[in-house]
């Protein structure tokens, strides 16, 4: 879907990216992690055409696209949700979505279809259609931003800091939606600060530090890497003898909020990760990603299956169920051959 090689970019005389290379496959969710100032947003801006890289190559579906404008990229199917949301606050929610469907303005049927999809995904955008976007709460605005990007029917969605400033419960909903989009075959590149949020639904991840990729792999590998915390927040690698409380505290911060009550137990009471699943994943690379996600999103899956009435439960069958979902998705199947290109 998207490959970027050796990107160098910056603002003024300061270079922020020193040769970033990454790839997003068809139907993949890829996480882009990194501490503050690591260059995540800059990378995304380059990929969306909002910033022209000084050096390097960006290809989308095999076509060289660097130097193209954001509007051009939108036309070839790249959706971009920038940091700070980028919606028109003085327009109504409905008008924002209509503007989002600019590319479909001559195709009423496709526009209608797309609008229904967005409404289905974010019902709140239907009920608030006549409200000015500026009056929405932060979470609703973020949904509108994603909804607007979806109105252009993108094949690849770039999302910058989707969870910034949002309540935990809203983040859950939002990430559920991203996973749903992906189930329908859309590729996503998501910038996040918090690995506990994104890694459970991602297939692969890149970790940036000081403008370079320092860690990459499947979401699971990255999640379990000793180096992850080090790269993300300058956290100590070795326990410090005089501050024994430090480590559990870090742990509490690392986990997702909904595991909070478990994490705050004095002893490490979190469920051990199923090793078997990991080894299985190595043997079957195609299933691996789905496996990872299924395992990590057990909480999410449970809620989603309750909501949608799917037959999956919070057990091993859930994983199988999800694998088949991905495999069986017509969109995913249709796109698979492109993967080589």
């Amino acid at each position: 879907m998207l490959t970027a090689g050796d990107l160098h970019a910056g603002y003024g005389s300061a270079e922020v990216l020193h040769g970033v290379s990454l790839r997003v496959g068809v139907g993949e969710i890829v996480a882009l992690l990194g501490a503050n100032g690591a260059g995540k947003t800059t990378t995304l801006r380059c990929l969306a055409g909002a910033l022209r890289p000084a050096r390097g190559e960006i290809r989308i579906e095999g076509h060289v696209v660097h130097g193209r404008s954001p509007a051009d990229l939108a036309r070839i199917g790249v959706g971009y949700v920038p940091e700070g949301r980028g919606i028109a606050r003085s327009l109504t929610v409905g008008e924002n979505l209509r503007l989002g469907g600019y590319l479909l303005r001559r195709d009423a049927a496709a526009y209608r279809r797309q609008l229904d999809r967005v409404h289905e995904m974010f019902p709140v955008l239907r009920t608030t259609a006549d409200q000015r976007a500026g009056t929405l709460s932060g979470g609703q605005q973020q949904m509108l931003a994603i909804g607007r990007a979806l109105m252009g029917a993108p094949k690849l969605l770039l999302v910058d800091e989707a969870s910034l400033g949002l309540a935990p419960i809203i983040i859950d909903t939002l990430y559920d939606s991203l996973a749903t989009l992906n189930d329908a075959g859309m590729a996503l590149l998501v910038v996040e600060q918090n690995p506990g949020r994104i890694l459970p639904i991602a297939h692969r991840a890149y970790v940036l530090q000081k403008g370079q990729v320092v860690l990459e792999g499947t979401a699971d590998e990255v999640r379990r890497s000793d180096l992850l915390l080090l790269y993300l927040g300058e956290a100590p690698v070795t326990p410090i003898e005089d501050t024994p409380v430090e480590e559990p505290f870090h742990d509490a911060l690392e986990v997702t909020h909904r595991e909070l009550t478990v994490a705050t137990q004095p002893a490490r009471a979190r469920a051990p990760k199923p090793k078997a699943a990991a080894t299985a994943a190595k043997k079957a690379p195609v299933k691996k990603a789905a496996e990872t996600r299924a395992r990590a999103t057990k909480a999410t899956t449970a809620s989603r299956s309750q909501g949608t009435g799917a037959k999956t439960t919070k057990t091993t069958t859930a994983k199988i169920g999800r694998v088949t979902t991905v495999e069986g998705s017509p969109a995913a199947k249709a796109r698979r051959p492109d993967r080589a290109g």
């Binding site: 005389s13 300061a14 270079e15 503050n36 100032g37 969306a48 909002a50 404008s69 509007a71 051009d72 939108a74 980028g86 919606i87 028109a88 003085s90 327009l91 008008e95 209509r98 989002g100 500026g134 709460s137 932060g138 979470g139 607007r148 990007a149 910034l164 400033g165 309540a167 935990p168 419960i169 859950d172 600060q193 918090n194 506990g196 000081k210 403008g211 915390l229 080090l230 927040g233 300058e234 100590p236 410090i240 005089d242 501050t243 409380v245 430090e246 505290f249 870090h250 509490a252 911060l253 690392e254 909020h257 909904r258 595991e259 909070l260 009550t261 478990v262 705050t264 999410t300 449970a302």
Partner: protein, 933 residues
């Protein structure tokens, strides 16, 4: 007043409305006021006239061809002038349109001559009478056209997807391309359509007026601008209604005072003031959000372009050169020096305080007229007249600055222009008593200043003094207060800085300097007349300083000097010299919106790099690992100065926006010396609560007590002065200033020196500034931010800024600190460090902290008490662990995916990482060794 006058007023108003519609449309698409808007109309007139008179076309064919031509002209202008400046500060584009007026005016004069021409009405015939009014076909057609075009534009903007794109571009052009609509299409369309609308206005106005000539439509441009402004600058309906209002006002004035046509400009200014003071957003404009800075300017703090040594060298060269020049050249040189003073004044107000002044000629004129009046009529001496001239300028400045308390940006700019128009037509002739002018005799101050040479030395002395004052101003707390007000008024208030006072101060100071220059000018010219201060002089000055480079003293002086010298050099070219001037303005801002100063800076750095290649500067990032408040100097802050009981108590707080109740009956009580968390879903009203406590919003009901005192009626900056500091969800810093400068702004309330002392830079000022600087640097070092002290904040990543903002708030020595989502944008490791820092701040500085947080583990780690709110209502409060486990909180906020845990048998089993975290400070260094290279 006769009915006929009213009808003619409506017809003229409709024509103004047409020009205003074009202004609004272009403003929407490219967020700039197009000063050349009127000339699209004049050019359409000339083309149509040629079609009818020379080529013998029918009226409609000629009119159609003319409109098509100006549409193409609009597209060409958009492509050549507007497109390259789309990403630049708006002021650059504004000045480019001023350049366009010059270029168009000369082209018209060269192609068609300056003699007035008659343009026929579209439909001949006398029309019919309605009462005493004559409804001529032109009048009817003008009103119908304005109505029809306004309606069409409104439909286009609201009902088509493309139109929505134009509306979105008016708000933030960066978002439009994301939907696949290139921003160039939007700006191209608005310029072409804007030109056509202006063309229609021109074709309909000319027959009503009788004749037309070059710059025909620009002479009435202030009225069209006033119409657009009254309507709200972005509103199509507003432009229509505003146009009618201005037209009818004009007709009424002419009806009441047939002899005093000059009153019209004054009345238009009063009309603008009246409307904007009552409704700052105009009749139909959308109200502004709480936080917004001046987006028309984008400044960068940088080192002086000309080092002090070079400046002194230039000064010495001037001193030596003056006697060598011919008498006429010395005169021009002295005029250049005075223009340089005006440029410094304009730079202070526009470049530094961010208030665009399009009426600076009026300040200059006020000084000159008053000096001439005192000299000629009252026979005052030079030494007495000059200070009064400066005072007159200051007074005028303060007067023009008054609307700045309510409005800003382009709206304010247009208001200053309207004032300049009223001043030229109304006040100036009043002071000077007729067109002949007044004489000002050069002084005898012990030395003979009668000759041009000695007078040039006097002007040079004046320039040096103003330079010195300007420098003192910018390097004091006054200058910093003005700078933060420019970047973000809400942030200024949160630091205890009164935005209103400082804006007025900047206006008065700039007016005073310009008035001083005016006084000097009066004695240089020796004869002061009305014709010397046309409204266009103000536009020339703004163009000069933008071309020179706003924000750079050397730059604006070079700009002003070239505007005096270049016309002298091209005197032989006559009109083409003016054309060249306009083209030069456009070319310079397109080359670099920062003007000559920026171009020179770039060239210099390229040159330096060629001589001594430097490695590419790596982006600076800060790490929190070594951050600690432990080594920060306390300096007059007593952590033990605490009170017992509640420091802040809020009761029965109710806040509604429109029909939506955001806060309903909120009551919180914060004990001194505690850390209190506020959690709740997005839109629960958390930030609104902070805004009410800080005074940024006025609640409908409720009381707020701080330290036993009701603060409900105090302005935000007053509350900040009492010791309530806050941070913002989206970082609240002066974006165009350095980190160090921001920390000095944080200390604003701690300086003891007075504003006048700041201007004179007394020893006390120097002493206190040194202390503040040392403390700010110590603070930054302690936080591990020492390396970025001189970086501009806009260049730094979000998480780092959050930390700088925290430092800024603490360095003000607050008693209560309101933190709004400080952890957002921070990674897990950074949040752990932040938790430690917050604890440390509370313990070391004795500050009471209230924090809005979405990061539940952080709240658990540091807070003593937590309030959970949702839908503006309190869900519950208690210890962090209790609240986090409360079923309502879990359902509304934390998320219901995980069932609520069994309540613990004993509360002690809930972990309390806080003591451990506090014990962790100061951290051993080796913890961070692994990830430093």
């Amino acid at each position: 007043m006769s009915f006929d006058l009213l009808v003619s007023g409506i017809a003229a108003g409709a024509a103004y409305a047409l020009v205003a519609l074009g202004i609004v449309l272009i403003y929407k698409g490219t967020r700039v006021i197009n000063f050349a808007q009127g000339e699209f109309g004049t050019i359409a007139l000339f083309i149509a006239w040629t079609g009818i008179e020379t080529w013998g076309w029918s009226y409609w064919m000629a009119a159609g061809f003319a409109l098509l031509s100006v549409a193409v002209l609009g597209l060409i202008v958009e492509r050549i002038v507007v497109r390259p400046l789309l990403d630049s500060p708006r002021i650059a584009m504004l000045v480019a349109t001023v350049g366009l007026v010059l270029v168009f005016g000369v082209l018209e004069a060269q192609l068609w001559g300056v003699n007035p021409k008659i343009f026929p009405a579209p439909i001949s015939g006398r029309g019919f009478e309605l009462g005493s009014a004559l409804l001529t076909p032109t009048r009817i057609l003008t009103v119908v056209a304005a109505f029809a075009i306004g309606g069409m534009l409104w439909l286009l903007l609201r009902k088509t997807t493309f139109g929505l794109g134009v509306l979105a571009a008016a708000e933030d052009p960066a978002t439009v391309p994301l939907v696949g609509l290139p921003i160039g299409h939007v700006s191209g369309f608005t310029w072409a359509a804007g030109a056509v609308v202006a063309g229609v206005g021109g074709l309909l106005l000319a027959p009503a007026v009788g004749t037309f000539q070059p710059l025909f439509m620009t002479s009435g441009l202030t009225k069209a601008l006033a119409a657009a402004l009254i309507g709200g600058l972005t509103s199509v309906r507003g432009a229509f209604v505003g146009g009618l209002l201005v037209g009818v006002t004009e007709a009424m004035i002419l009806g009441l005072f047939p002899q005093k046509g000059t009153l019209v400009d004054g009345a238009v200014f009063v009309l603008i003031l009246a409307v904007l003071l009552l409704r700052p957003q105009g009749l139909f404009g959308a109200p502004r959000p709480i936080r917004s800075g001046t987006s028309v300017l984008r400044m960068r703090r940088s080192k002086p372009l000309v080092p002090p040594k070079v400046a002194i060298g230039a000064l010495a060269a001037a001193v030596i050169a003056i006697p060598m020049l011919s008498d006429y050249d010395v005169f021009i040189f002295a005029w250049m020096l005075i223009a340089a003073i005006v440029a410094l004044s304009l730079n202070l107000l526009t470049g530094y305080a961010g208030q665009i002044s399009l009426g600076h000629g009026a300040f200059l004129g006020a000084g000159a007229a008053v000096a001439a009046y005192l000299s000629a009529i009252q026979v005052w001496s030079f030494a007495a007249a000059i200070p009064v001239a400066a005072a007159a300028g200051a007074l005028t400045g303060a007067l023009v600055g008054l609307p700045a308390l309510r409005i800003r940006g382009m709206e304010l700019a247009v208001t200053t222009l309207a004032f300049a128009a009223a001043f030229e037509k109304l006040l100036l002739p009043e002071i000077l008593g007729g067109r002949a002018g007044l004489e000002a005799e050069r002084p005898w101050l012990g030395i003979n200043f009668i000759g041009n040479t000695n007078y040039a030395y006097l002007a040079l002395g004046g320039l040096v003094i103003i330079w010195w004052l300007d420098r003192n101003f910018t390097n004091s707390r006054l200058g910093r207060a003005v700078a933060v007000t420019r970047d973000d008024e809400t942030v200024a208030s949160s630091l205890g800085i009164s935005p209103g006072y400082h804006k007025l101060f900047a206006f008065a100071l700039a007016g005073g300097i310009a008035g001083f220059a005016g006084g000097l000018l009066a004695y240089l010219l020796q004869l002061v007349s009305v014709a010397q201060f046309p409204m266009f002089l103000s536009l020339t000055f703004i163009a000069a300083v933008v071309v020179g480079g706003l924000g750079s003293r050397a730059g604006v002086i070079i700009g002003a000097a070239s505007f005096v010298v270049i016309p002298q050099l091209f005197e032989g070219l006559r009109l083409w010299g003016q054309f060249l001037g306009g083209a030069l303005v456009i070319a310079t801002v397109i080359k670099d919106p920062g003007g000559v100063a920026a171009t020179a800076r770039t060239a210099l750095s390229h040159l330096l790099r060629r001589i001594r290649p430097a490695p590419v500067a790596p982006a600076v990032t800060a790490t929190l690992t070594d951050a600690s408040f432990a080594s920060v100097p306390l300096d007059g802050m007593d952590p033990r100065a605490r009170i017992d009981g509640p420091l802040l108590s809020v009761r029965g707080l109710r806040m509604r926006f429109g029909g939506q109740e955001v806060l309903s009956d909120v009551a919180i009580e914060i004990n001194a010396g505690t850390i209190v968390g506020i959690i709740g879903p997005n839109g629960a009203g958390k930030t609104t609560l902070f805004d009410c406590i800080g005074g940024y919003l006025t609640p409908q009901a409720g009381t707020i007590f701080f330290d036993g005192r009701a603060i409900g009626g105090l302005a935000p900056h007053r509350r900040a002065q009492l010791g309530i500091a806050r941070t913002f969800q989206s970082v609240g810093l002066a974006r165009s200033e350095t980190v160090l400068s921001n920390l000095l702004m944080g200390q604003h309330g701690r300086f003891a020196y007075r504003d006048l002392e700041a201007l004179l830079r007394t020893p006390r000022v120097r002493r206190e500034e040194r202390r503040a600087r040392a403390e700010a640097l110590a603070f930054l070092d302690a936080l591990g931010l020492g390396g970025i002290a001189h970086e501009q904040t806009a260049d730094l990543p979000h998480g780092t800024l959050k930390l700088v903002e925290l430092a800024c708030a603490i360095v003000s020595h607050p008693r209560l600190l309101l933190l709004d989502e400080t952890s957002s944008g921070m990674g897990p490791g950074e949040v752990a460090q932040l938790a430690r820092l917050i604890k440390e701040a509370q313990e070391r500085f004795g500050v009471t902290i209230v924090m809005i947080e979405h990061h539940v583990p952080l709240v658990l780690a540091v807070c003593d008490h937590v309030y959970a709110i949702d839908f503006g209502r309190q869900l519950t409060d208690g210890t962090p662990a209790e609240v986090a486990r409360h079923p309502d909180v879990v359902a509304a906020y934390v998320g219901a995916h995980t069932p609520a845990p069994e309540p613990s048998p004993e509360p002690a089993s809930v972990p309390e990482p806080a003591p451990g975290v506090a014990a962790a400070a100061p951290r051993p260094r080796r913890a961070s060794v692994a990830h430093r290279r």
